[in-house]
Amino acid sequence: MGIRERLSGNEAVAYAMKQINPDVMGAYPITPSTEIPQYFSAYVDNGEVDTEFIAVESEHSAMSTCIGAEAAGARAISATSSCGLCYMTEMLYVAASSRLPITLAVCCRALSGPINIHNDHSDAMGVRDAGWIMLFAETNQEAYDNYLQAMRIGEAVGLPVMVCQDGFITSHAIENIELEETDKVKKFVGQYKPQHYLLNKDEPMAVGAFGMPAYYMEAKRQQAQAMIDAKDVIRKVGKEFGEMTGRTYGLVENFMMDDAEEAIVLIGSSAGTAKEAIRQLREQGRKVGLVKIRSFRPFPSEELAESLKNVKAFAVMDKDDSFNAHCGPIFAETSAALYAAGISAPKGINYIYGLGGRDVRVDSIKHVFSQLDKIVETGKTGETYRYLEVRE
């Protein structure tokens, strides 16, 4: 039986870290993820974990210390947000390409400028090609659950994992949550036993080679395979987690999609708002649904094609803009997933929404569905690159 508690998303993640008891944490304060290393360093200073905490002088060094520690044979973790994640970017690529399963908690926040501390996904989306597995949470419960699954997934395929939640919206809001007993968590997560590591006295190891063109592409293809393999691992671990907790996870969550004629695709906490809007619209007899992406990396291309193949129209919601005069990243990848699967009937539009903490209300989501109605009625898609809740 789980333990019922009331925790903020940050506290829930810090508590998950405590239960796992990793070897090293290197972290640097930044709003809104600051509380995670704060809570955790209290566990360290009170002797409640074995972890060594490195209070580094920057996010860049936070990820650098994690790379050193993980390569050394330790479980290494960090937490960050926004420009902190940007500042780590170069190191994120090194962590992934060196095949180091570091776990990074991200509280998503807007990027400057203007400087803004509130939620959107520009930070996480900006590092989407760094080679990390990226899981997104809708609720505090999911942030906690995703964190408990992250190491199992990352260590199985040799890739680092970002466990993303929405800054302030879940990181600071206190919600009811069901925690698992620590001994169960420890058993579920298991010990980290890398095959090769720097501190193996019987086998010196060299990490971080200079790769000439004769090798570089083979290394990258192998890295790509790890991400492909991660899809099944995420499903398997999510199923096993469900057996333990009753909460099963896959790459996406389909909400009222079985007979849906119109759908919204999005990531993160806005799924809660979308679900409420869909419930209300369903009461009016409308066939609407939601596809919530949990795993953005690996991208759930097959699941999205399957979920959307029978809808008449869909809107992909991006809490980030690619500023390509075309669309946001999730719309681009969703469209590519459909095209690759030979699905061209559904008409799709893209909404850029929620930037810098702009509220997304039930009515906002209803407005999106009203636009999908028009597309279905007229057969005309119109402008595909749209902004939601912006003053005209």
């Binding site: 090293v24 920057s58 050394a72 720097l198 010196p204 060299a206």
Partner: protein, 310 residues
């Protein structure tokens, strides 16, 4: 323990041949010497910043490092090795590890004085049990001899070319050794290759075996960038020391000690003249440059003597 060159060079090198550093490069000499100062029974993890050294010593699949080695990026060797050292403390504390390890990072002056400065300062301030070794060749040699904050005054580099208006690097060299002393770490030393290698070997040994963070600044000439014939390396380092351009000193728990005082301090020309990067300073009309450098060297030397209570 008295120093013996014979015992030193009889020790097996922990740095392997087959690396691709240029003929006559100073940095592999620094690396092999520093690593030989480790006790043979101790394991080590070595880190290198991106640099000539890194790309020449771990071109896949050929590593010149006999110990475990990690390269991460240009600007974070200190943070990276501090992560390895922390993992060691954590695993050791948990009883998951029994071997004894030492930790060392190597960076060039670009990776140390400039882009890696923040990472280095952070790691030193946190006091990890590690040694950071700067092999100082006074410019970005890997990318083709661009100036760094370690490049000396008036030096001709590819980003401070001797032009009609600006005659080489306008600024003086940054005194990184003193900045490291200001971190209040237990051991800081400045050294280079002299005679029987006693100075550098003893300093490397102290750096490794003093608990806590240690910093070694090793002048490691680059024949290509400094433009002198490769065989003259030991003449260049000797001139650097005899002119007091690069004094040999160490700072133990904040206490300065001068390790070598020239019997007769030589004029800076003796150091500058053999190097092509300073050739323009010897053209008629440019005597002021040499005078200026002499003044700077004198000032730094006098300051150092005071710090050493001499």
């Amino acid at each position: 323990m008295s120093y013996s060159l014979k015992e030193n060079v009889m020790k097996e090198d922990r740095f392997a041949a087959g690396h691709r550093m240029c003929a006559g490069c100073g940095s592999p000499i620094a690396v092999r010497t520093v690593l030989r100062a480790l006790e043979p029974e101790d394991h080590a993890v070595v880190c290198s910043a991106t640099s000539c050294l890194e790309v020449s010593t771990f071109m896949y699949p050929y590593t010149a490092w006999k110990d475990s080695f990690i390269h991460n990026a240009f600007e974070n060797a200190a943070a990276t090795i501090s992560g390895v050292e922390t993992a060691y403390r954590s695993l050791k504390k948990q009883g998951k590890l029994d071997a004894s390890y030492k930790f060392v990072a190597f960076g060039g002056d670009g990776g140390t004085y400039d882009i890696g400065f923040q990472s280095l300062s952070g790691a030193m301030e946190r006091g990890h049990d590690m040694v950071y070794v700067c092999y100082d060749n006074e410019a970005y040699m890997n990318t083709g001899i661009q100036r760094s904050s370690s490049t000396p005054h008036f030096a001709d580099t590819t980003t401070t070319p001797v032009g009609k208006v600006i005659p080489g690097k306008p600024q003086q060299k940054k005194n990184l050794t003193k900045i490291m002393v200001a971190h209040n770490i237990p051991y800081v030393a400045q050294t280079t290759f002299i005679g029987n290698f006693k100075d550098i070997t003893e300093k490397a040994h102290k750096a490794f075996y003093t608990p806590g963070a240690a910093f070694l600044n090793v002048m490691a000439p680059c024949p290509r960038g400094w433009r002198y014939p490769s065989e003259k390396l030991m003449e260049i380092t000797k001139a650097a020391v005899e002119t007091c351009v690069w004094p040999l000193y160490e700072v133990v728990e904040g206490k300065y000690t001068l390790n070598y005082e020239p019997k007769k301090k030589l004029p800076v020309e003796e150091y500058l003249r053999p190097q092509g990067r300073f050739a323009h300073m010897f053209k008629p009309g440019n005597e002021w440059m040499i005078e200026e450098v002499q003044k700077e060297v004198d000032r730094n030397w006098e300051e150092l003597l005071k710090l050493c209570n001499l």
